[in-house]
């Protein structure tokens, strides 16, 4: 007699046990510690923090360990944890002009106040596998340079003005007005379209790096081209300040590492706007340079309407397309769910196809 497949509960338990073993790998190998991942897989940790929207290196490292290095799975762990956290306060806007920079480059000016700082970049490394690392050797370390700006510098030189502010002084770039309006919160309100720029930037900064990268790349290849120059890219730490009502003033609660990219985009003017440079903006937690540049390109492409440009049908111009598909947790969930049982719908389709076929074949026979 036929017995339907049972034992879902036991199967799940067994799967979890097996997964735990696989995660650990060969027990003869020493287990990775969270500090090891945090210190030596820092860029993976950064990506998990950025897309998980939670600035906590240790938790991101834990998530990477638990997820066996699957970064989207790690982002998911962080997101699910983040949702359960209470909101204690909102910080003041961080001041990136007061950033203690590790890296600061401009592609538009050879030199500028504050100077160019190359920082810890892969840019000019030759991509040759370093077999010394495999032999568990270490290249001798020189003392790391201290960051520039922020608290590391004397009073008065602590600020790095943004490149766009130099252009702004001459009226050559669109002005960006400061606003104290409370931005919408993507994680607390359902997405409403059309979205305004703060909401778009929020979606992009936690969006999938690969998706945002490809969207940005498509604009460079002509699908919604925006003629972007990297006006400035800076990486460093900024102070986070929170108002303490009991004290009546703001207190610095810590600092976070950020990557900020501002593009300067060539613009010949439109029906509504005079010729001037325009802006794209990217801000991402941690050192996440590729993502910040990509974000600023996509941000600029999405601004076509406000700048009076034409919609050319390019995917990167299409706000609904970009915002509804940039979240990798949503995407991977819906994608992977098709492996769950669909017996019922499939059966319904099976019966339909059988019926349509038999009718079509009967017609054919009658015709012959």
């Amino acid at each position: 007699m036929y017995v339907a497949v049972k034992g879902g509960e036991r199967a799940i338990d067994n799967a979890h046990q097996w997964l735990a073993e696989e995660r650990r790998g060969d027990p003869a190998m020493p287990a990775l510690s969270i500090p090891q991942i945090r210190e030596q897989m820092a860029l993976a940790v950064n990506r998990v923090m950025a897309e998980g929207s939670l600035y906590d290196r240790d938790l991101a490292a834990l998530a990477i360990k638990q997820a066996r290095g699957d970064l989207i799975e790690a982002v998911f762990l962080i997101r699910a944890y983040r949702t359960t956290l209470p909101r204690l306060a909102a910080s003041h806007p961080v001041d990136t002009a007061a950033m203690a920079v590790d890296r600061r480059i401009s592609a538009t000016f050879k030199d500028l106040p504050g100077g160019q700082i190359l920082g810890p970049t892969f840019d000019y490394t030759h991509r040759l596998l370093d077999f010394a690392l495999m032999a568990e050797g270490e290249t001798p370390r020189s003392a790391p340079p201290s960051p520039v700006g922020g608290e590391g510098r004397g009073e008065g030189e602590a600020r790095f003005p943004h490149v766009t502010s130099f252009l702004n002084r001459d009226g050559l770039i669109e002005s960006a007005e400061a606003s104290n309006a409370t931005p919408p919160d993507l994680t607390r309100e359902p997405m409403e379209l059309p979205a305004d720029r703060p909401l778009r930037l929020q979606a992009l900064t936690r969006g999938d790096e690969g998706f945002v990268l490809s969207m940005a790349y498509s604009t460079q290849r002509g699908y919604g081209r925006t003629h972007a120059f990297v006006g400035e890219l800076r990486i460093g730490t900024v102070a986070v300040e929170v108002d303490i009502p009991e004290l009546g003033f703001a207190v610095e609660i810590g600092e976070i590492e950020l990557t900020e990219c501002e593009t300067v985009n060539q613009f010949k003017g439109s029906k509504t706007e005079p010729p001037q440079f325009t802006r794209g903006y990217g801000l991402v937690m941690g050192q996440s340079e590729r993502k910040a540049i990509a974000m600023s390109l996509v941000d600029r492409a999405l601004r076509w309407q406000e700048l009076g440009e034409d919609f050319t049908g390019a995917p990167a111009q299409d706000e609904e397309f970009v915002l509804m598909h940039c979240d990798n947790i949503q995407a991977t969930g819906f994608l992977e769910h098709i492996k769950l049982p669909h017996y019922v719908d499939f059966q319904a389709e099976l019966e339909l196809v059988r019926k349509l076929r038999s009718e079509a074949m009967a017609l054919q026979e009658a015709a012959e």
Partner: protein
């Protein structure tokens, strides 16, 4: 501060109180405007989108400690995801669970409506992947929202009519759209159209949760939900033209099971509780034995 979740100790039914309030408000608005999709700030749940996060959030907002919860996937209580969701609520809400449709006070389902008629006092919570019935005709939310506003459902009728022109019948076998109380066209989630008649005039409260798409909608009890059709092509339900091989039921929705590589197959009730109940009463099918 009961709302703060301490390490290892989650709030009743997992969600924090503010989130539950937000979901509860959305449910009540859904009840007030049957068939209209209420946007809600869906949370990231500890299970993936697509696994029923919308249904889980709606269930979490409705559960009381006295509830008896039933969870089914494809009509079955023992499918892995049904097991997993049931366990989640046992752990986080401490509710008792049941496989018996008649004993359950809250039923969370994916892709089926139980065969056993529901009663007043029961809540049926559907997991919904794509809540927008017009989505595959018009992918833009900004457009479909306008269509619902203007009650402009011509596109849907054109699609159904094209089916008839091409196939002689409406070629939609599941997620078959309904019109609710003569106003909103609604996606009933991917239930087979066999289940559509049970949507209408049901004594239970029916709630629909789409987590990834951030929508909640509802059919209050006794609400009319009419499957879209044409006068000359009325709506028809369909199922495999067989009886259940285990319990002999002639009128239940069937799963097809391939039994060998020689074309052998059998048909069994997709609703495992319904089938087991019939066998317990002595009904047997072609391959079944009395329980």
């Amino acid at each position: 501060m009961t709302e703060i979740i301490e390490a290892g100790a989650y709030n009743f039914a997992y969600l924090d109180e503010q989130t539950k309030r937000m979901i509860r408000r959305a449910i009540l608005k859904g009840i007030a405007v049957p068939g209209y999709q209420v946007p809600f700030a869906s949370r990231e749940m500890p299970m993936p989108y697509g696994w029923g996060t919308g249904g889980v959030q709606v269930t979490a907002a409705c559960l009381v400690p006295e509830d008896r919860l039933k969870v089914i996937d494809q009509g079955a209580d023992d499918t892995t995801n049904a097991v997993s969701i049931r366990r989640f609520f046992q752990r986080t809400a401490g509710v008792s669970v049941t496989e018996a449709t008649t004993e359950a006070t809250v039923i969370q389902t994916r892709h089926r409506i139980p065969e056993t008629p529901l009663t007043e006092g029961q809540i049926l919570v559907y997991q919904v992947p794509i809540p927008e019935p017009l989505r595959f005709l018009e992918p833009r939310e900004t457009e479909t929202r306008k269509m619902h506003e203007l009650e402009e459902y011509g596109l849907m009728h054109v699609k159904l009519y094209e089916d008839i022109a091409r196939h002689g019948q409406i070629a939609t076998s599941y997620a078959y759209p309904v019109k609710v109380e003569g106003r909103y066209v609604m996606d009933p989630s991917p239930i087979p159209k066999f289940d559509n008649p049970k949507l209408s005039g049901n004594p239970a409260i029916q709630l629909f949760g789409a987590g990834r798409e951030q929508r909640i909608y509802a059919l209050p009890p006794w609400t009319e939900a009419v499957s879209l059709d044409f006068d000359d092509h009325p709506f028809e339900t369909s199922k495999a033209p067989h009886d259940c091989d285990l319990c002999g039921a002639r009128d239940s929705y069937l799963d097809e099971v391939i039994t060998d590589d020689q074309g052998g197959r059998m048909f069994v009730c997709s609703d495992t509780d319904f089938c087991a109940g019939r066998r317990a009463k002595g009904h047997t099918g072609r391959l079944g034995e009395a329980a």
